[in-house]
Symmetry: C2
Subunit: 185 residues, 2 copies
């Protein structure tokens, strides 16, 4: 297990993802995850509430990056620039995790409860983005719409990027999907 | 209880929604729901898998309406026309249910598990819409993007319509939100 992360949290995530992929999410117990990681259940519960949360462990940090990036835009920035900065911060964090995310994708797709949780993660980003826009003085109704569509575009772009159906880095795929949306509406 | 629907399924839904609103979703048991409705638990389980499903009971029928409306468009219809027909069928079904949906909204908002389920319902519509577009011969990647954005717009419009922050019927609010999106992108 030398190839494994030394960080306890990442080690549990790696063990869980491996087992979910090998034997299915449903059939994987927390006991099996800690056995594979060479750790104890007590340690598991210090990091995660349940076996589902292991797959959503980076969500809080990503949401915070998004909010901070929007807030960090200068006063004169347009709403569009603020959105690009927020979504861009998420994209930058996802880019180096592509291999892990490609492995994670079919696991999430295999279980309705994980799909629901995944959609909720995106909803959290949408709420965070619209909240950060409103905090900049943007109109609330417009912010909600803009955030909803921006995260929908991110979702589509990430889907293409992970499926390998679109070439290039996530940032490039995202820009292309944005162009496509403009052409559509 | 003469004011209550005579249809068993609708009666269980009315009883559940009342109790969820009165005493909270968490504190409402299936035993309490059937007591309020004057029915048995056995009857409850003939209609719903659990107390969450009561709030999502019309979803399958709506998804089917959406798919059928898209499929029913003539061969020469544009993708835009097909989407408008599909979303329009959902809008038409939601319009007369406004009072019920206004009562339902804070219940769903009160529980993360219900918010997740609600997002999943919208995801189901997105998948149904893109699938119906692909079945008409539209490009898959474009269909996924168009469906994702169309349902995001529907979600925003329904939110404004239920909050009373936008005047008029849902169809009118939806058209306005669509115009706003065009101006945004």
């Amino acid at each position: 297990m030398a190839r494994w992360p030394t960080d306890t949290r990442a080690r549990l995530q790696a063990a869980a993802t491996e087992l979910y992929a090998e034997q299915g999410y449903d059939r994987t117990t927390i006991a099996a995850i800690v056995r594979r990681a060479g750790l104890t259940e007590r340690t598991f519960y210090r990091h995660f509430g349940d076996k589902r949360e292991v797959l959503f462990a980076n969500e809080g940090a990503l949401t915070q990056r998004l909010e901070e990036a929007v807030a960090a835009q200068p006063d004169g920035a347009t709403m569009r620039e603020a959105i690009d900065a927020g979504v861009g911060a998420v994209v930058e964090a996802l880019q180096p995790r592509r291999d892990e995310l490609v492995r994670r994708e079919p696991i999430v797709a295999s279980q309705p409860e994980l799909q629901e949780r995944e959609r909720m993660k995106l909803a959290t980003w949408t709420t965070a983005l619209s909240g950060a826009l409103v905090a900049r003085g943007e109109d609330e109704a417009t912010s909600v719409l803009a955030a909803e569509v921006a995260i929908a575009v991110l979702r589509v772009a990430a889907g293409r990027w992970l499926a390998g159906s679109a070439e290039g880095e996530l940032a490039v795929v995202l820009r292309d999907v944005g162009e496509e949306l403009r052409a559509l509406v």
